[in-house]
Symmetry: C2
Subunit: 701 residues, 2 copies
């Protein structure tokens, strides 16, 4: 569930931008082989800096450089991909806004932070990502997909541990009432303190701050309180005193039913709907494991102060997979397909030792014990392939340190993508062991277990109780059922003691067995029961299956795809292009007339109609703007193909087909163009439908 | 928004089932040409009947028949489609449960009424319906799709009228505390009263009850209170006294942000997200109308006591379209494609006069003034086509009576589907006029308007104020800006009065103009202002566009598709089939081995792999059950094709391909089968990929 969880820190600041953009590009401050200094940042601390400066005064360029160095999140290039720089990011934001790709929600009513609308372009791209995900994971791997409601009763999320533990620590400015996430606040404080230390005068203090900052994300409530009082941390907005830290549950609460109703939450992850249905799903699957269940849907988190745009929404789309493993099994039947996939791993050890990420194959990583098992490694590989399919270029897998894992997790690897916010967690991969199934079983008395058939029956020594029910009935009346159960349990759990009692009984010693039944110690007359050891043959056993969970934050994936697709032609920031993969482009094609001439438009409409009949998602632009401007508009929103009807079309029935990235054009008979566009978009990688093949077949323009 | 609104009443009862299933099928009690008596029902009153009987005693068959007659909702056959009878409905429910098609949510934790989980089969079918909808409406009609959050601030839904008016009247059993929807309770009461009237002894009372029942759904709070006291209506569960009726708002409430936060609701319809983005969307569309916006997503309604399964959920999926019209326009550019479509209309007049539904074409209906305009009629046609594509057979369009329309609506037509619950509203079609845009504009001061360019500039006489700002400034100082605004407004709104003042001024009469400025009456010295009449030429004008809204309840559509697809082979209730259209079937194909023989399984896996690569959603059944049983399993969940590897496959490389409904089989070379299945499933109606063509091409088995 962690894909909108506590992502990699992004402690940059607009101030840095301002400082850095005046200077020549500095030499990268290398802390790891692949990390450099990031130029662009609009991180969570952005909003605080003007206030920070008021309290701390100016800082120098060297200070900021030194400060940035310690953070592996600072990097502007990775694996050949260059993060959007300041100017590019500004152009990007402008296009997103001007073409209504996405936008803060309810702006005419003042807006709400953490809620976003997807306009026609954004919505279409996101739908395509969802479809692609479903094909790539659910259909191709034969997963079973389910859909459960967002509204979830209190008792379900109590069983899963969310009511108690799904919290962030919060502190309040005692003057203004403004709320801060405690970890973010402490990180900011450390940044500010480090900036103040202008002359490197106090190396001890510096190290103390670096260490405090590193620990901020995983502190207990007492540690936060201690840090605030030790370092006299105050509100960064006003300098006022801070309240004591308190845990703030991130789930939205409501009630269901008339009048006061019952307490419910909006789910903070989709996974619980899968766990609560485990029994039925296992039955559907013929009782067989492994079994892989997927769910795509909205989740909700009432973030304290969301400020990172699409990356930290209060309502967001997740795609989660729960891969349940057979007892003792840790492999994956299709791991062989992934063993050679090269990945960039940033292991827990590397992070702790201050080492760099390193490249390896998944097979090697499992062999070396870096990734715990094949099942987890398989999904890392699958995830990377999918991210690449969405056009994402800079990917690494970062292992969680022991202190930062969610309450249910045993091991976690985040797929992080480098974008202008720094390294951003887009997909979490958690080994949840059998935590959830066990919790729900205990809360409901419904055993969410699977049956393992032994190859050979196994023999086991057990102690059994032979009980004289009539005697028990006479002695204990209404409570006799409880006594019988207690005796059986005693035999099962305290076998040695039961046999000792039996031995004594045979030797005539004890007259009664002392036994706790519902908080009361009873004396069971020795005549009522005898114990003996026997051998039972067991043909199998029930067990709680272990589960591996890849969990996608689809809005983050969407955002990263857009940033990675964005470029400008030449150096002209007026000519921006979204070079999205064809499979996720918002429209597959655009129909244009060279002019709105009466001869041309009927042909435009006719081909457009044909395209629609074929299921090609084709946009018609019949505006009066000149053709170059209309091509530019299509480039800007990432439409991969444009079909133009010109005057030659009226004569020989051909039209031009233009490809977005190369801007190349070919002439195609108008009857052939809908099928050609359809084939080009279906992206089945067969050589006869590629753009290269189209160029060979049809004359260039 | 009304697709999960107040649907057609379904006052049947399980008791009727029991009574009727003992008798021979009665002759239909005809109230309309097409309506008959419904056999199967499990309506909202179901749960009350045991209690009802306690209070009322037994009733006779004739009584129930007589009672049922007056309700157009009672019908078991329509246009050749036979509603599931009692036994069939039971088989249907069993399959839905056993194969986990859908199921009440969180059952292991006790369940929550009105919340449902979709299992692998249900989820897949529903996804296919969503995809089909998107292709049929958004892509094919070039609509613009958006996606907005469910969480909606208080002020947005206050502006739209939902905070005040999105309510049901509720009464509470004063002893047990149980809550009832007032309208449903009154209807139940009437039913019970009518049943008691065993000897038809009191015709006046009978008519009174029929009339009360008919009015129950549209009563004011006072009318409900009056009815409860006049007829001494008590709780149907316990017979206890009822509380006064009170309006219960159906929106789920929560708060956003830390600590107390701001008040938010979960949206009760998706439409508001479209209206609040109107300005941006119009800009995206180049300022042009008509413009059609779509949104698919969850909506939420805290129903008082939901009891009709998937038909009345508290969290449900909607697909809504807002079709904004240009000023004065009521046509639709593609209406010509719909004019000849035959539809069954149940007009407001027909309902009021107790007449039957009638068949007509959409063109005729518009000409006759039954459907108010082409735009609305176009969408009725489009809806009907889509419902048929989903395999839905019995469809009528019912116009809302004046008293039952939602607060924003001017005219409404519901697409109703006949199923075992009676006539169920699946799609609402509302003419919302410009209600919403106007409301949001007024609440936000952001004008949600479009610009209409006049063909020729138009001249208009206006009164203008010439203001001496220096004098005003001296006289009114800080308030002078307000005074200037008030003077301009006065000239604009009260032209005649302004001219009269001017006339007086010129004749030397008044020394000052009395003007209200912010609740205070000021005297403006005459020297400060003069007024004159002039002619202005206007090139266009702003206006609030009218909107037509088709609103789909996708869960209801899903449910009706399932019921309509369900049949049994011969009379064998163990051999049930979901004859779903291929386009929405849960899996497109199933791969089977005749036995789990070591020779066969590798071929099974190989073809399965090929299918997956081709994007065919193919399920593998490698269980040990015999082949007939495995075919039956696939029929039960609606898989249209099955590919079987048998011993002949090892020899000649062919496999069998079986079609679900005909159970016919052909032998196909294994290399060709993936492409064949893919083509058959893509449902492009070309003759070379139909099942008939496959039978001609390949030998039958």
């Amino acid at each position: 569930m962690s894909s909108q969880g506590r992502e990699g820190k992004a402690p940059g600041s607009m101030l840095l931008l301002l400082l850095l953009s005046c200077s020549a590009p500095p030499a990268p401050f290398v802390t790891s082989a692949s990390s450099g200094l990031r130029f662009v940042s609009s991180s969570s601390s952005l909003h605080l800096l003007p206030a920070v400066l008021k309290h701390t005064g100016r800082i120098t360029l060297e200070q900021t450089l030194r400060l940035r160095g310690g953070d592996s999140n600072d990097c502007n290039e990775f694996g050949g991909y260059q993060v959007l720089n300041n100017e590019m990011r500004e152009s990007f934001d402008t296009v997103m806004k001007r073409r209504f790709v996405f936008m803060q929600s309810f702006l005419i009513h003042g807006g709400v932070s953490g809620l976003f609308d997807y306009g026609p372009i954004g919505c279409s791209i996101k739908n395509n990502i969802v479809d692609a995900w479903r094909k790539f994971f659910v259909v191709s791997d034969g997963m079973l997909e389910v859909a459960c409601p967002s509204i979830t009763p209190h008792r379900v999320l109590e069983a899963s541990g969310h009511v108690k533990r799904f919290t962030d620590l919060m502190v309040r400015d005692e003057t203004s009432g403004e709320c801060f996430r405690a970890d973010k606040l402490i990180e900011e404080f450390c940044d500010v303190d480090l900036m103040k230390d202008a002359k490197h005068s106090n190396e001890t203090r510096r190290e103390m701050m670096m260490s405090l900052k590193a620990r901020a994300g995983s502190m207990t409530i007492e540690q936060v309180e201690d840090a605030i009082s030790t370092f006299n941390i105050t509100s960064l907005s006003t300098g006022a005193k801070l309240s004591k830290p308190l845990p703030f549950n991130l789930m939205f609460k409501s009630t269901i039913g008339p009048s006061s109703g019952s307490s419910v939450f909006l789910r903070p992850e989709t996974a619980q709907g899968i766990f609560t249905n485990f029994k039925r799903l296992l039955e559907f699957n013929g009782g067989k494991l492994p079994m892989t269940i997927a769910q795509i849907g909205k989740s909700f988190r009432n973030e304290i102060a969301p400020k990172q745009g699409l990356l930290r929404q209060r309502e967001f789309e997740m795609a989660e997979i729960e891969h349940f493993l057979a007892n003792g099994e840790t492999g994956h039947v299709e791991f062989c397909k992934m063993a050679d996939v090269e990945v960039c791993l940033f292991s827990r050890t590397a992070q702790e030792r201050g080492e760099a990420e390193s490249w390896t194959t998944l097979g090697q990583a499992v062999e070396d014990g870096i990734i715990v098992n094949q099942a987890l490694a398989y999904f890392l590989g699958k995830t990377q392939k999918f991210l690449r399919q969405c056009g994402i270029k800079a990917i690494r897998f970062r292992q969680h340190r022991a202190t930062e894992m969610a309450h249910y997790a045993q091991d976690c690897w985040d797929a992080e993508v480098l974008c202008s916010y720094g390294w951003v967690e887009v997909v979490g991969h958690a080994d949840r062991a059998c935590f959830d199934l066990q919790m729900h079983s205990e809360a409901t008395d419904v055993p969410l277990v699977a049956w393992e058939q032994h190859q050979e029956p196994r023999e086991r020594r057990v102690v059994q109780a032979t009980i004289d029910r009539a005697l028990i009935g006479k002695a204990f009346r209404a409570r006799s059922k409880l006594v019988v159960e207690a005796l059986e349990k005693f035999a099962e759990k305290e076998g040695e003691e039961a046999l000792a009692f039996q031995k004594g009984k045979e030797e005539g010693a004890p007259e009664a067995l002392k036994l706790r039944v519902e908080e009361e110690e009873l004396e069971i007359p020795a005549a009522c029961v005898s114990f003996k050891e026997t051998i039972v043959r067991e043909h199998g056993a029930f067990y709680y299956p272990r589960v591996v969970e890849p969990s996608f934050g689809l809005d983050r994936l969407f955002y990263c795809s857009l940033e990675h697709a964005f470029y400008v032609r030449g150096n002209d920031h007026e000519r921006t292009v979204l070079g999205l993969p064809v499979s996720i482009a918002p429209f597959q094609c655009c129909m244009l007339g060279l002019s709105s001439n009466d001869q041309l438009m009927p042909i435009v409409y006719e081909i457009h109609e044909e395209m629609r009949k074929m299921g090609v998602n084709c946009r018609l632009d019949d505006s009066a703007a000149n053709i170059g401007k209309r091509y530019a508009r299509m480039d800007e929103i990432g439409v991969p193909f444009a079909v133009t009807v010109d005057f030659q079309s009226c004569q020989d029935g051909t039209v031009t087909l233009r490809e977005r990235d190369s801007m190349e054009q070919v002439r195609v008979p108008k009857e052939e163009v809908p099928q050609l566009v359809r084939s080009l978009c279906e992206a089945r990688e067969s050589p006869d439908v590629s753009w290269a093949a189209a160029k060979e077949r049809y004359p260039s323009v």
